[in-house]
Amino acid sequence: MSDIQLSDPRLVRALVGAAKWSRILAIISLVLIGLFSLAMLLAFGAIVAMLSTQPQFAGLAAIGTVPLAVLFGVYLAIFAYLAYLGLRFGTALRADRDRVISNAAIEEGFGHLARFFLVSLVLIVLGFVGALAVPLLMVSSLG
């Protein structure tokens, strides 16, 4: 047990403020992901066919519509999970009637925030490895 006082109004203000903006961001993200998913469901084939006519996107047609749709689905699901973790952080940290946030709420909220950072970290590392691997694969295939 530490000496950090949970009734400190500055502590409550910081946590409630972070939680409020986290909720707003998560809701915006989920709405955008939902709209994007809907657009993809309705017109994915048409979008891929249209892009395939452009020389720089010609490779898309070679991959095929179904694998591309699965790839986009996984991509959107990962971002939806991140938004969900942000929402859980935001909803866990609510002050009670006495303007105090409980230890259980802090433990739950920051548990979700830690997972959010961990998943984001893994995504950055994967993106970095991918950004290095693709040119190397292209060079090796040319050689």
């Binding site: 950090i4 910081a14 972070a18 903006w21 739950e108 920051f110 548990g111 970290l121 993106g127």
Partner: protein, 161 residues
């Protein structure tokens, strides 16, 4: 009241009741989030640095390639490319410096405050987290508003024609 006074006073001067204190489990959860946040920040900064440095190095290579092809970039063209990049970098720096400093504060001050049992440092670290999330939230709303206005303008121009 300064930070030192606040630490010495242990919050009593602010009218804090000696009520519930942060449990070991809650402190561990905050420290864990700050630790992962720190790794995330380092990875993000490394990724950004590499992404931003690559085009800067590319200017020289592009200019040399044009020169070899007999279509040399003049000094003015090269200066214009460099000027454009510097402008883009300055914009990125202006937009991302504040949240980066704030997030850095959360990931460094909060665990230090928890380790030292210093109320003021923990509060400062968590307030930095609030500032980071608020900045990203306001920035997102501004960008969305910009897109909405742009979309409305496109529709209006399309209807007018």
């Amino acid at each position: 009241m300064t930070t030192d006074d606040y630490i010495l006073d242990d919050g009593a001067g602010l009218g804090l009741s000696r009520g519930e204190t942060l449990s070991a489990g809650a402190a561990a959860a905050i420290a864990r989030a700050a630790r992962f946040g720190k790794y995330y920040l380092y990875a993000l900064l490394a990724y950004l640095a590499i992404s931003l440095l690559t085009p800067l190095l590319g200017i020289g290579a592009t200019a040399e390639a044009f020169e070899e092809a007999g279509d040399g970039l003049g000094g003015q063209d090269r200066a214009a490319m460099l000027g454009g990049l510097i402008f883009v970098y300055a914009m990125i720096l202006a937009l991302y410096l504040y949240p980066t400093i704030m997030f850095w504060g959360f990931t460094h001050k909060t665990p230090a405050g928890l380790a030292a049992d210093a109320q003021a440092t923990v509060v400062e670290g968590l307030d930095n987290l609030r500032s980071t999330v608020k900045y990203i939230g306001v920035f997102t709303l501004v960008v969305l508003a910009f897109y909405a206005v742009a979309a409305a303008l496109i529709v209006a121009v399309g209807l007018a024609q």
